[in-house]
Amino acid sequence: MQSKQNYHINKISLIFLALVTLNSCKKFVEIDPPVTQISSNTVFTSDATATSAMAGVYSQMMQQVGSAAFPNGSPTILMGISSDELQNFSSNPDYNEFGNNNIKPPNTEIQNLWNQGYKYIYDANAIIEGLNSSNGVSPAVKEELIGEARFCRAFCNFYLVNFFGNIPSIVSTDYRVNEIAFRIDRDSIYKSIIHDLTSAQDVLSTDYSFSKGERIRPNKWAANALLSRVYLFNGDWANSEKQASSVIQNVSLYSLVPDLNAVFLKNSSESIWQLLPVAANYNYSTEDAYWFIPSNGAKPNAALNSTLLQAFELNDQRKINWVDSVSYSAQLYYLPFKYKVTGTMNSTEYYTVLRLAEQFLNRAEARAKQNNIADAETDLNIIRNRAGLPSLHAGDQTQLLGFIQHERQIELFAEWGFRWLDLKRTGTADAILDPIKAPIWQSTDTLYPIPHSEIGLNPNLTQNPGY
């Protein structure tokens, strides 16, 4: 009797214990996200937090100063020293490899270009996905932010495809898909860039009201301006002209700044999209100013190449206003001086990504290609005249195109690697760089290598030829 009762009590208590335990254990270990962080789901539930996610992209783009990062500094510096416009004096061996066009796949800067580019693509994808499945964000903000995210994705893809050639196209946040993505051909990448930008055009705002009048977030015109470049790079002259014209004709927002020293100032009328320097510990300076202007008595990190110096025409105001010189060890070094401000809390300069002068040159080239010589010359001479140079009149299309390339070399020097990109797309890299960089130069150097570790981590990635 006693033992039977014991047995029942034992059984009941065991069952009770087991039930309590099994039910409660599972629920017990499911915890809420930490209050110091926001889970991805909650980011896209309000206008404010969703806007913060987009602001986070721009902030990160500009938070690293002191060592170049994409996009703050590294496109300008690395493509600059790869081409014939800048000479590298930095002691960093990774930079030397760029300067010597002898990049080894383990190069850290190559890894940075790749990782940072794809990081912002991930951020953009996360914003697009988050907003598409969100209910809490107002339609206007949602449209604007999706537009900005698409723009940023296109912007990153544009540079990545130019650095590396065929690249994987990353359009989701699923790491299990992304970590084994294949490279696809550059034309498909460009198609997706064009798709992103044309979609962005439709939804982005037509002014700068979203950024309180400051030109620090991309709007419709930024998408048009980048699209003009993308079409130009793909030989779609008509569309390139059309997009450039749309920006140039928007005279209420955009006009060339007569004073060359004011072109890169914050919210200058020439600027279409600028990035706001955020790094407080570097006094909000741009990486370009930080890198090119040597601190007191130090050797410059880089200086203008003699071929670029010689390419300036006599009395070119750009040589006077955008080039500085310093003496180190009894030798004179000429430095890019488009950005002039370091070491002060109240920087007057923003980091200009897209500006109107490029649009004039894009349209000039697009028109020239379409044999519209007169209009092309007009565009070209607007830029020349601002620099205090006389107008040029070309005898034929070929000569005109030559003039335009020369003008791009001068107007856009030490700015976003334009020289390197132009040499590559016009097929003139071998002819121009081989004599300067011989015997190291190889045709395959126009593409940077896929980072060594990426090939190790993703079995589907192949290396570029020559590496």
Binding site: C25, V29, V43, A53, T173, V278, A279
Partner: protein, 1075 residues
């Protein structure tokens, strides 16, 4: 008067007062009696009394004829004394009328015999409960066994029943009830370590019956060491446990590793449980400017600890499931003791000094070095670069080691405790104070005040018991932000005076950074620590106990670092600033479980099943406060001109489990122990939160076999084997969660958010499979015990931040890597009682550990972040270094092997020329001796470690920095053969070569050492003397820690192997009083 009464028989009949009384009537009250009888019937005593006195004793012979015998030894006693004595011990009554004495057996009216229920408690001479003691009733089949509290119950006993106590680890004893219904029996312990109680997860065992690998360090060992951190008291004491004090700073971190490194990237620290409550072992500090870590264990008063159990193998640790992979350390605090209320005071005071300094160059040798370097390099000294030659007074000599770290730390420790209680209830209240200053100049000190409370109660029937523990401490640690040792040790010996003529710090016009500047950067911390726990037990059916362990701990730190303006050179533009930090960890746990004990035949079964819930919440922040106008305001956060948040932390960690264990013991000969646990942790993502762990352990006590009993010298022999799995979840929280964190900087006033982690529910526990085999032997009645252990543990499913393609937007992801790490080792423990006689005892114990560690596999090593860190087939503790070939006789430069050509070069290629250099410990252990002569006791522990160490001196000889004496044998001229390269003062080849030397195997030195870890010498005053002072005990002692070290290590202290403040050698004296 000496009395000796033995009761050897009990009266079995109860007689009525009747019948014939034999009378004799003569005598006188003042007469004296002398008796010396052994085991005689009472009647014989009565006869003797009659013979020696004029008393007439009247008694009924029948009553005493078959009665008890008695031993009696009295001299010149009165009749009353003798009769009292007899009546106290035997059942008789007497009346005295003039000279007539009437004696009769005690009258008991009830018939049949009266019975009663008896509850008792068995304790040893240390007043600790003794479990497992058999209590039988003489001439009856009735019996009981004492439980963990030493309690037993017997029902329906004769009021004069005699209880016989017998147990494996106590000396036998008999006790007559004499009508008592409650009794406390003190049994003498047999000196046998095998039967000491060992605490394990959710229960206890003994070394004799344990199936697992467990070591125990008791209070008597811990109390004899003048340390403030209880972990430091374990150093060198336990096989398989390696402890390293990181520095000599009060409260500094102590590294603990049980049986090697199991995890590549994640925590290798054991699980700590204090009185059943998990204890956080990670430093709490939040501010970024503090240059050293403080140990949370500094909040635990070593004197409060009763025992520390170190659980090493799967059998002992798998009941802790996912947290047992790195072993478990159980800390049990002292409990109250029943009996007389007792007030104990223990106080010691002493001093500490740096245990080891370096021999450095004197000014003349130093100047010679500098000038030789200048000549070598054709270098012309400049005032800016070489103030030591051109600006400072080169006739000066300052031994900065002596000035900065050569001071004396004063240590004071006081403990007061009150304990006592009755049979079923006891208490302990303790208060403690510890103060320790530093060897550094400046007013730095660590003060700890602690309280400890313990209450135990059990119901009359012992079915219900409760134990409560509460301890609270406040540790105020006032330090400097920096351990200055590294920066000062190699200052030039002709450095300027530390103070100027006004008594302020001398900055020598900015030509040096005054080494005393650190004294003006104060780092004050206050650490509060609360540990509360409760253990309840209710025996709801015989053998079935419901138990509930619960606890709450709260650790909190408040920190402030104050950079006073006087810490900066006058030329500096830095303004005074502060950093404030705070961090709190609150943990609670509740663990209900059922425990079942059953004996059947010759077998014993113990089974338990239970569940565990635990939650930890961490909340902390750190703030940088700058732009202060005055040093005086640095403590006030509101006075700062600007504030910025360095970090905020908010973490919730939850944990739950179901566990069970079955232990089956057949005749104390064959024992099998199975345990299992299913664990869930919030650190893992959905679907991966739960995992199961299990173990099986078995023991065969072969000395119990009949065929072994003939081997007389072998008193104990056991084989023990266990195998099982444990886990490790020491990764950061929320790792699976896709989340956004704030960016460092806002963008146009909008605070940015960026994705911090990929959504990743895929990773799970690190799994550690442990095999352990041991043989335990006892010789000469266990005077010599020997314990040899072999273990293999293989740790896989390594949780690492695995590199991932940048295409994912991230460079790494938390993942389980199928890398396999193997730790094997041999552990030896030997305890001997070398000499034991009335006046002199000598005991020794020796432990030795020979650990091996090996990376068995690491898929994808080459493309991982660990490519130049680990090599498959080698230990984890390797360094990839250049291979030193000597000093090139022609150039005087350090040369290293170029792997391609096999020739030497001063500048080998990274990473092609690297070789893997093993830095693992070869063996370590300790040798402890305890000598006792009458009231004198001497104990000492010698700790030894055989290990290579990577040692990197900070600057190339010839530059502005002092050097050890051995550099005088440097290369000076072509053809010279030596092992120190030429002096240099420029950044040319010799500097490059020196840099490569630091990355070469030449920088790996012999870091082995012998250390007199602890010595204690005490005198216990005799009870006679102590009683005269109206005390219960008095002891005087002197103790020393780290008094000397023998080593070839060229740096400061091989124990912490860095240029941090060496561990201190501490000497103290004190006394212990018991009222």
């Amino acid at each position: 008067m000496e009395l000796n009464v033995f009761r050897l028989m009990r009266i079995t009949a109860f007689l009525l007062l009747a019948g014939f009384l034999e009378v004799s009537a003569h005598g006188h009250a003042q007469e004296r009696i002398t008796l010396s009888e052994k085991n005689v019937p009472l009647i014989k005593i009565f006869d003797d009394i009659q013979k020696q006195t004029s008393y007439n004793l009247w008694y009924d012979k029948k009553q005493f004829q078959n009665g008890e015998t008695i031993s009696i030894d009295v001299k010149n006693a009165t009749l009353t004394e003798v009769l009292e004595l007899c009546s106290n011990r035997l059942s008789l009554q007497y009346t005295l009328d003039g000279t007539i004495v009437t004696i009769r057996a005690k009258l008991i009216l009830d018939q049949p015999a009266p019975t009663m229920d008896v509850k008792g408690r068995v304790i040893n001479e240390k007043e600790e409960p003794v479990a497992g003691v058999g209590v039988t009733v003489r001439n009856s089949r009735q019996g009981a066994v004492t439980d963990m509290e030493g309690a037993f119950t017997l029902e329906h006993l004769d009021s004069n029943a005699i209880l016989v106590f017998s147990g494996a680890n106590v000396e036998g004893h008999e006790e007559r009830l004499n009508g008592r219904r409650q009794l406390v029996v003190v049994l003498k312990s047999k000196i046998n370590k095998l039967d000491e109680i060992q605490i394990i997860g959710y229960g206890t065992t003994t070394q004799r019956l344990s199936t697992g690998s467990i070591s125990k360090v008791s209070a008597d060992v811990i109390e004899k060491q003048p340390v403030s951190n209880p972990l430091a008291a374990l150093e060198g004491r336990v096989a398989g446990l390696f402890i390293q004090q990181q520095n000599g700073i009060p409260g500094g971190v102590v590294n603990v590793q049980i049986r090697g490194q199991n995890s590549i990237a994640n925590g290798n620290s054991p699980l700590y449980i204090v009185d059943g409550v998990p204890f956080n072992s990670t430093p709490l500090q939040q501010v970024t400017q503090a240059n050293f870590k403080l140990s949370p264990f500094n909040s635990i008063n070593p004197f409060d600890i009763e025992s520390v159990e170190i659980l090493k193998d799967a059998d002992a640790t798998s009941i802790y499931g996912s947290r047992g992979a790195n072993g478990v350390i159980l800390i049990t605090t002292k409990k109250g003791k029943s009996g007389k209320t007792r007030l104990e005071g223990n106080i010691y005071t002493g001093f500490g000094q740096v245990s080891r300094m370096m021999d450095l160059l004197h000014t003349s040798e130093y100047l010679q070095m500098r000038h030789e370097a200048f000549t070598n390099d054709n270098y012309v000294a400049t005032v800016v670069s070489d103030p030591d030659i051109l600006k400072w007074d080169t006739t000066r000599y300052t031994d900065l080691q002596k000035v900065i770290i050569g001071g004396t730390a004063k240590i004071t420790d006081a403990q007061l405790s009150l304990s006592g209680g009755v049979v079923n209830t006891n208490f302990l209240i303790g208060a403690s104070y510890h103060r320790e200053t530093t060897v550094l100049p400046g007013n730095f000190a660590d003060n700890r005040v602690g309280f400890h409370l313990n209450l135990n109660h059990s119901s009359q029937d012992h079915k219900f018991s409760i134990s409560l523990m509460n301890s609270f401490s406040v540790d105020g640690n006032n330090l400097s932000k920096t351990d200055p040792t590294q920066t000062i040790i190699l200052f030039a010996p002709d450095s300027p005076p530390l103070y100027d003529s006004l008594g302020k710090l001398n900055w020598a016009q900015g030509s040096w950074s005054n080494p005393l500047a650190f004294t003006n950067i104060k780092y004050n911390t206050q650490t509060d620590n609360l540990i509360s726990s409760a253990n309840l037990k209710y025996e709801f059916l015989p053998g079935f106990n419901f138990k509930l362990d619960g606890g709450y701990t709260q650790q909190g730190i408040y920190e402030v670092i104050k950079f006073q303006s006087t810490a900066f050179s006058p030329t500096s533009t830095l303004k005074p600033f502060s950093q404030f930090g705070n961090n709190h960890i609150k943990t609670w746990n509740i663990e209900p479980y059922l425990d079942y004990d059953k004996r059947f035949g010759k077998g014993k079964l113990n089974a338990l099943v239970g569940t565990s819930f635990q939650e930890s919440d961490v909340n902390g922040s750190a703030i940088n406060a700058s732009n202060y106008t005055s040093d005086a305001l640095l403590d006030n956060i509101a006075a700062a001109g600007s504030l910025s948040v360095i970090r905020t932390t908010a973490i919730q960690y939850r944990y739950s489990a179901v566990f069970g264990r079955v232990n089956f013991n057949w005749q104390d000969k064959y024992i099998i122990n199975l345990s299992g646990r299913r664990d869930g942790s919030s650190r893992f993502g959905p679907g991966k939160q739960f995992a199961s762990f299990w173990s099986i352990g078995s023991a065969w006590i072969f000395s119990k076999e009949t065929f072994f009993k003939s081997l007389s010298i072998l008193s104990f022999g056991k084989f023990r084997v266990s195998y099982g799995t444990t886990g490790n979840d020491q990764i950061s929280d929320y790792g699976y969660l896709s989340s956004y964190s704030p960016t460092i900087y806002p963008y146009q006033g909008i605070s940015g958010l960026y994705p911090t982690r990929l959504f990743n529910p895929d990773y799970s526990w690190e799994v550690n499979k442990k095999f352990d085999a041991g043989v335990e032997l006892g010789f000469y009645k266990d005077r010599l015990t020997f314990n040899l252990n072999y273990y293999i543990s293989r740790s896989s499913n390594q949780l690492i931040a695995q590199s991932i393609s940048g295409l994912t937007g991230f460079s790494s992801i938390q993942a389980n890597l199928p890398a396999l790490i193997e730790n094997t080792g041999i552990e030896l423990e030997l305890n001997t009682i070398n000499i034991k006689n009335k006046n002199f005892a000598w005991k020794s114990s020796f432990n030795l550990t020979i650990p091996r560690n090996k990376l068995i596999s690491f898929p994808g090593l080459a493309s991982s972040n660990y490519a130049t860190v680990y090599v498959v087939g080698k230990p984890l503790s390797i360094l990839e270094l250049f291979k030193f070939t000597g000093v090139d006789p022609s150039t005087g430069l350090y040369f290293f092997e170029d792997q391609k050509t096999g020739k030497g070069t001063f500048n080998p290629t990274y990473p092609d020329d690297l070789i893997a250099v093993d830095l693992s410990k070869k063996y370590y252990g300790g040798f402890h001796n305890s000598l006792q002569y009458k009231n004198w006791q001497l104990e000492f522990l010698i700790q030894f470690v055989k290990q290579p160490l990577y040692y990197s001196p900070p600057n190339a000889p010839g530059f502005l920095s002092n050097q050890p004496l051995n550099i005088t044998r440097r290369w000076q001229s072509a053809g010279q053969i030596t092992d120190i390269q030429r002096f240099t003062a420029t950044f040319e080849d010799a500097y490059t070569a020196y840099g490569n030397y630091r990355s070469s195997n030449y920088a790996v030195v012999d870091g082995s050492y012998f250390r007199l870890k602890n010595i204690s010498f005490s005198y216990v005053f005799s009870p006679v003397f102590v009683n005269r002072l109206h005390l219960a005990g008095l002891k005087l002692f002197i103790e020393g820690q780290n008094l000397f070290v023998i080593t070839k290590y060229p740096g400061l202290d091989p124990e912490n192997n860095s240029l941090s403040l060496p561990t201190l050698k501490v000497s103290t004296a004190g006394l212990n009083i018991i009222f």
